[in-house]
Subunit: 344 residues, 4 copies
């Protein structure tokens, strides 16, 4: 029997992706949609400016949107997917956890909190048990798990694959698609025939979230990984798919061939939305490319290529679909992990 789930912030860009993923999902059943006060009471069709390239699922279109308030969500809903703006998430998400809901959140607030698991199931599924600590500390009946930022998700699985060689320093330059900023985040005047070499607090997210994702959890406490990451973020005129150039120095020597093998053999997870092959490695140095490779594994695979020796260490490129693997798909995957681990 499917778990009854809700979407907080259901009308936004990531909210729409969540609905596309959850509607046909075998383990979940959409039972609640929330948005801002101004949308409350409307049908989803009225409330959402739907921009996906497939129609709104009929049953979802006719659902009534409620305000983003624990009192407005049916109590038989077990799991909430949150894609609220972080300023809103910060204010309302804890209330849902207190009220007993389990929240899988894509919002950036609280990601680095000591007792909030930040999880990519194929990378650090064991961190999910930080929820025990969280419940102890916060006295919540519910729980909160976060997925990292889209640009972090793109390169961390490739680092995880190389971790046995001892990660020391990483430089990463990102070429990020406009959808990462939300539907209205980047104007056309800003980006056509252009590139912007800075994205809000993005560089900080790559630098800190990666240390937490690659950290170790001993059942009581999370220890950050020692890797030092320096990031430089760029917005480019691409719709979907973040491409990243990575320079990595490891403690042990590592050849391009060994790196490719480590990535190819890095295991995926046994969850509904995990791709068969987590990291697709290309031999062609011109790949991966956003438009050609972002939909690999239903948009849930990472792809990598251009692995070569660099002046010190190794360099390579990687890519992921930022609103699938990097946002909506990441939250759904964490929902699946919560279910598998008995948190629902």
């Amino acid at each position: 029997m499917a778990v009854r789930v809700g979407v907080l912030g259901a009308t936004g860009a990531v909210g729409q992706r969540l609905i596309q993923l959850l509607d046909p999902h075998p383990e979940f059943e959409i039972a609640a949609l929330t948005a801002s006060e101004s949308s409350a009471g409307k049908t989803y069709r009225q409330a959402a400016k739907w921009r996906a390239n497939s129609p709104i699922p009929d049953d979802v279109a006719s659902m009534t949107v409620s305000a983003t308030d624990p009192d407005e969500v049916p109590s038989d809903v077990d799991l909430l997917f949150s894609s609220l703006p972080s300023s809103v998430g910060e204010t309302v998400e804890p209330g849902f956890c207190e009220a007993g809901y389990v929240v899988s959140s894509n919002s950036s607030n609280g990601r680095m909190d000591d007792d909030i698991p930040l999880v990519i199931p194929e990378v650090n599924a064991d961190h999910i048990d930080l929820l025990e600590v969280q419940r102890d500390e916060r006295g919540w009946d519910g729980a909160m798990v976060k997925n990292p930022n889209c640009s972090t998700i793109t390169f961390v699985p490739t680092l995880a694959a190389l971790e046995e060689y001892g990660l020391e320093t990483v430089h990463v330059a990102t070429l990020q698609a406009v959808s990462g900023a939300g539907y209205d985040g980047v104007t056309s005047m800003e980006i056509i025939d252009n590139a912007i070499p800075h994205i809000g607090s993005e560089e900080d997210k790559l630098e800190t979230e990666s240390k937490k994702l690659l950290g170790s959890f001993d059942g009581a406490e999370l220890t950050l990984n020692d890797v030092e990451v320096g990031a430089s973020c760029n917005r480019i005129p691409t719709i979907d798919g973040h491409l990243e150039n990575v320079f990595v120095e490891t403690a042990e020597e590592l050849s391009p061939a060994e790196a490719a093998e480590a990535m190819r053999e890095y295991p995926s997870a046994d969850l509904h939305s995990s791709p068969d092959q987590l990291i697709e490695v290309f031999e062609d140095p011109e790949r991966p490319q956003p438009r050609l490779d972002r939909t690999l594994g239903n948009g849930m695979s990472i792809s990598a290529g251009g692995i070569r020796e660099s002046t010190f260490g190794l360099q390579y490129n990687c890519l992921a679909h930022n609103t699938m693997r990097g946002a909506a798909g990441a939250s759904v995957l964490n929902g699946e992990l919560l279910l598998e681990n008995g948190y629902l």
Copy 2:
């Protein structure tokens, strides 16, 4: 009195830019245009598919194009600007030098040869005297000077400004405009809504040419700079302007403020095409941007911004107009240097 000059490969994209720069130039007078055999005998208007956003200068339009052969170029032409494909340049450029022509070349062949000066006048003007060695060794009446690749020109002046702090290692990721590949170099199907994380032998050019440009010349021999550069090159859907993310580690400690000051105070050259301010430094971390900043200093300035501490060392972004500062303008500037130094 103006020096009579010619353009080798006058119908190509860089050739067209050269004509735009040379036609109004006070020191030079266009006296010869060459192209492939199939264009020989045609007027320039007939031979060139002109794509600039200003009309062909009338006097140039009616000039007759000759084959790219020393016998076809009037002997009273003193200086030739070459923007031939490197495979052609390799074959024909030496013949022009032997025949007594001085060649300022944008073609990549021979750039790393021991006795060919590779010059950015504001950075290493003194390397021009390598021409004495060249003439001794090759027995040429003419001479050959090269300018570096467009992606190299973009970041080397910023490194030169920081050199007193002791350059150790550099990682650079480039976001390059399509015009860098020539008019037909990148198809629209390849690049719209996309990015390509690899450009032919571009990475190697950044890594090696920078060592030569920053090297020292003692009047007899050129010593390469010790800096270790690792480059990762990307093509993005931008018409003009290469943007680069630089991570640099120096021997001496260097704060962002010191780096900004060093760049701002780095002197320009006293040549006609040199901009008043060589490196424009932005405080706004979102700048420089290709569409907004590529035409600074008539397309001959470098711009920089986003200077901040990185996990080890410093990081910043820089930008230059790839067909102006990075190609045609670079060759013209070297022509001006040749004139000033008495090589014409």
Copy 3:
């Protein structure tokens, strides 16, 4: 049992689309692939520069490509899909028909010939029987059916839906995607931040092919439709999907509501690749849009919107996926029609 089919010009952009459509097709089985002499003898993986965003089907990848010559195609292949450049098609297609092959061709050569059926199955399936006349006249064992140009296919179904009101004059302005010119057809320098108000002989195709498609066939002769079409064609920076603005004057008065109803009710065909709804009509005047609506009906639907009264007559917009509905899908659909009508 599946019909054995071949693809002439299998390595090109449309050829790759054909393979994507034919590989999983229940009625067809790929048994032959041809390309230019230089590809003959190679495996398809070696011969094709595959650019689709799904991998080459494994069984196809290992097939050996042969030259585009009737002697090189197995005789048990019944149906050939041709996406040859028209200059090549003109030379080689008749030889295949003579040799007994039935050819469903996307190439533009011969489309307006009196005895060659030009067919969109949902619009003029009855024209297929012009093949009887063709065989009589040409003495072919095989046969040749053509689909129209991609820009023609986009608007003709909407005109067909309005035909009962008496089509008199039509003005159509097209906004065409770059994929319509083939992979290398439009360079990025030509089209980024730009539009080109002319496409080869495209306007003529819209003006003449529409008259043939909407013409009537009495079993012996085809009579062209009287509609007068004036077309203006533009290339814009879009990957896939041709958008067209149509102004139509009809003999009988026609309200926007009647036009919308006529389009919605215009029947689809009962063929495997025909969409359930041939023409999707939007109420939102901002739709259809290429990126949002080109994949409707697996890329085989036409979409329309913005229907309103114009100064004389009616105006509306329509859209179709140019390499699916407008090229590869159109040829496959004609193949299905040939099968259903007993021509295989």
Copy 4:
């Protein structure tokens, strides 16, 4: 001595263009800048998010911005250029006219009012004397002249050139640049790899403003032109430059050669910002193109091409720079006309 002028709505996209044009203008001197209340009291550098590709003129940067209120503008300012949002313009512009200011406005409010001249100086300069009627009727000391919408300005001069042949019906399809919607008007998610076949009330503007511009003024009353215009407007991923496809039917027969000649010989005006050649006519059917031709005549020329016989009448393409000729430049030109005609 230069006329002291002000800019209403100086921080917006058109306001910035106005400043770029007015700062070096020999006849005008910027003496007042207004913006919304939130900007009042700030320097222009603080108030404006400057996005032009040349720096803010120094003297303008340090000017203090005032509220858009007649009491806040120095009374020795004679002429105001207005680029306010139309809803704001509607509210505040009449107050400025009442207070004695002459306003040259780019805002769409009031353009079709009987006593407000809508002027393109090269087309209908004589309409300016409608100001006498306006002052009589409204009792204003000041006055108000409007320039048409950018998409109207693009094609009306070409129609004016053909008017002697008797304009009957016109169909026009526009391909409009994103800058026409203002800096934040079109998001990148809406337009990359896409086109939008509808722009607010744009079609209505083309259809009605053209009748007024081509109308006749007898000194007392304005009579609209009889031409019937049907317009279809599209937004495409281009930064600047509106391209339009025109189908025109005239009373008298008109060959493409006659139309080209009529356009080439259509006179420009003897005003500072009028280009030498008002309409540049291309023989190459692939021109005009936005990126190549928008800056002709400093962005104040119209260009045309692709003139050919259509099924009934003639068809051709035309292009103008939408924020120069179509907005800021149009208002400045009207200011010059006001000065020449003694209205200042």
